[in-house]
Amino acid sequence: MKPRLNFMETAGAVMVLGLAVVAIFAPLLAPHDPARAVAASFGDPWPPSRAFPLGADQLGRDVLSRIIYGARISLIVGVAAMAITLAIGVAIGLAAGFLGGAVDSLLMRFTDVMLTMPALLLAMALVTVLQPGLLTVLLVIGLVSWTQVARVVRAEALSISRRDFVLAARALGATRTRLIVRHVAPNVMPIIVVMAALGVSGTLLLDAGLSFLTLGVPPPTPSWGRMIEESTAYFRTAPWLAIFPGLAILYAVMGFNLLGHGYLRRRRRDASTR
């Protein structure tokens, strides 16, 4: 990898760093407790004012503080669920691509089955089965989004395992596990890095969708998706309740997207100038 980042990568990195800073220092940055009633706006949300810069919701809570604290759960869900997605996807992709034969066709048929199932419905059903909570959300997102990763990793693994150095290692008597760990895995790393960055943005959107359907991480944990969901009853008189958390989601997802696409763009440039 070249050390010099392009503009998109820089912007993405700055945005993601900013998100991380807000998440880590939320207690210092937030003016109020995000779960407590601090305004008497019960049943009739308040517009932005000096005391409550982004308004107060129908339960008397400060919207700004909730958005600041919401960065925490978003970052945790985004990164952890992406890690689970990658773990499942890479394991299945490597196994299929490298072991081949019956294992490959079995795993790929299974992937086909998963791909034909509507992801959000599957996620909803799984949340119902597993009971709502942070761990459930992570697991469910992982379980419904690994297919793409598995397919890409399998394709890469297939092409790499036919290359000379792998064939040579095999001829020298290397075991399959050793081959995967020492040779194939490092070579699929770049593509995995890209999928990780883009995976986080996908994950964030899926989490927001689940929260919007009241199936995300339960309160009092402030979550941006749920904030939008709770605001829908008031969207005609208090649109700010929906607009600000949406901007927060947009910001976070955009940060990771810039990182991923920036990297892809640089790699393509590098390839075409080679």
Partner: protein, 543 residues
């Protein structure tokens, strides 16, 4: 998906592909939606809108407000409630008598009542309707209400071809014999489950009867397109002369409260719910406030505590919970559309106890009680609730209040069915949000059904048991005299409130708004609004 963004090209015959795709795209667009029936100019048509589709129009199947609203327009029962109250009045039965011990009930039917297919309604149609509800194959939710009839058990078990305790000596008389005294049995005949249905039509359509309903009520089904609209038209042969006054009722389906309000403002619908966002504005605007109607429903919302699961085994903890929750704030969160609850029985219910004080908001007292019970620093508990928007918001308000006395509430939002199932398992659900809507205007429908030992594993979801309470219920149950009956129930309720198996939250108040040209409308505290006497004065036609 995003990882696809960088992709490779392959050569092709592009134009043909675009054409093929365009064809594939626009083909399904050619048919969508069917036209609404057209009413002649000047027809009196009431326009409504609702979010959810009507679950069913089959009286044996429906058990919810939306289904009942339409079922009571299409079908008739022997007796019914008055438009705005819960007193029983004649419907198809012109008169009825009860034996002194409340075990035999005799109904005398009007002559000349006809189903909309032209056939005369006879006593056998009511017998058939109830047998259909009892038949296991129908899977009716109303089965339990008619099990007390003599011979019902044999019929359900398949040992008898008909229910021996329902006699039809002639087409205009029907007699019910019960195996035990039940003074509120006539109320069970006022439920849509017991409405007359024509056997020949049910036989023809089977489970699809819901889509092809034929009844004797003031309206008939004209069109019902799932998820879009339902249209009823006037039954010209309805047995009450001059009723209904409307020529038709059109309900648009899939319209949420916000959209309803928008359509109400443009005059496109005649009745509307008032969405939370505009409620404060409506109340502040005299012109609009004058068009609102409100009624305290026979419903109690509560936070149930499982009396068999620690720490809620301790009555001090249960009372502390009652003192810790700010019911006025809770009601404010729902725009004041509720009355803070003082006990189990709602104020519109006969037998209500106005002198009962209940639990005021008193966090200091809650903390003291928790300390006495051995929880000086509070505790953590999980509350189960249905995952819908209003419930989640209410739960968060309660969560805020309890945090102030040291009780950390974890929310467990689940689907409706898993919630119902879990609540019925012992030692599973420590805390839950729930509510009860009256089926009959009688305290037994709350106290017996929700808090007696016999209902453990069924509707006694707080697993409450107090022998003194149960003894009072047993004494009250067979009494037909309201004064003695209600006095006993009043005593029983006092025990329940002192034992505090629930946090008594609030009694919901229903608000509706009508256009100035809508007349003759009355809200009912227990049943959906009836439309048979509604009429419209001349008004501008919406665009």
């Amino acid at each position: 998906m995003n990882s696809h963004v960088e992709s490779t090209a392959r050569p092709m015959r592009a134009r043909a592909a675009v054409a093929a795709l365009a064809l594939a795209i626009f083909f399904p667009a050619c048919r969508a939606g069917s036209p609404a029936p057209v009413f002649p100019p000047g027809a009196q048509v009431l326009h409504l809108a609702s979010l959810d589709d009507i679950p069913t129009l089959d009286p044996a199947a429906g058990y919810d407000v939306d289904s009942w609203m339409f079922e009571q327009m299409i079908f008739d029962t022997l007796i019914r409630y008055s438009d705005s109250g819960v007193d029983l009045v004649p419907d198809i039965a012109a008169s009825w008598t009860a034996s002194p011990d409340s075990t035999v009930f005799t109904f005398h039917l009007r002559r000349g009542v006809r189903f909309s297919n032209g056939r005369a309604v006879a006593s056998a149609d009511f017998k058939y309707a109830i047998e259909r509800v009892l038949d296991p194959k129908t899977r009716s939710k109303g089965m339990e209400y008619y099990r007390g009839i003599v011979g019902a058990a044999d019929f359900v078990a398949g040992r008898a071809k008909s229910v021996a305790g329902i006699e039809t000596p002639d087409p205009w008389t029907i007699v019910f014999r019960l195996s035990a005294p039940d003074p509120i049995f006539p109320h069970k005949l006022a439920m849509p489950f017991a409405a007359a249905v024509p056997r020949e039509v049910v036989a023809r359509y089977g489970e699809d009867f819901s889509r092809h309903v034929v009844g004797s009520g003031p309206f008939m089904l004209r069109q019902w397109i799932g998820g879009q609209r339902i249209v009823l038209v006037r039954n010209p042969d309805y047995f009450v002369k001059g009723v209904p006054r409307l020529d038709g009722v059109v309900e648009a389906i899939g319209v949420n409260e916000d959209l309803q309000w928008f359509r109400f403002e443009t005059g496109a619908i005649d009745l509307s719910a008032i969405p939370p966002a505009v409620f404060p504005y409506v109340i502040k605007t005299p012109r609009l406030k004058a068009l609102t109607m409100r009624i305290v429903t026979m419903t109690t919302r509560y936070l149930g505590m499982n009396c068999q699961m620690p720490p809620f085994t301790d009555v001090r903890v249960r009372r502390a919970m009652n003192y810790a929750i700010d019911k006025r704030k809770l009601v404010a969160v729902i725009n004041g559309r509720g009355i803070p609850a003082n006990g189990v029985l709602p104020p519109s219910l006969p037998g209500y106890d106005p002198d009962l004080r209940g639990y005021p908001y008193d966090p200091a007292r809650a903390r003291a009680l928790l300390e006495q019970a051995g929880y000086p620093h509070g505790f953590t508990a999980t509350v189960w609730l249905p995952a819908d928007q209003t419930m989640m918001v209410l739960a968060q308000s309660v969560q805020q209040d309890l945090a102030l006395v040291g009780v950390q509430l974890k929310l467990k939002p689940v689907g409706f069915a898993p919630l119902l199932d879990a609540i019925r398992q012992p030692n599973t659900v420590p805390l839950f949000f729930s509510g009860w809507e009256a089926d009959f205007p009688d305290p037994a429908n709350f106290l017996d059904v929700l808090l007696s030992r016999a209902q453990w594993g069924a509707n006694n979801d707080s697993w409450f048991y107090d022998p003194r309470f149960d003894a009072l219920l047993a004494q009250a149950k067979p009494l037909a005299d309201p004064v003695r009956r209600f006095a006993l129930y009043r005593q029983a309720q006092r025990i329940a409130v002192a034992d505090a198996p629930w946090v008594f939250l609030y009694f919901p108040v229903t608000w509706q708004i009508r256009q100035p040209w809508v007349h003759g409308l009355a809200l009912n505290p227990m049943r959906p609004t009836r439309l048979d006497r509604v009429w419209l004065s001349p008004h501008p036609k919406p665009q």
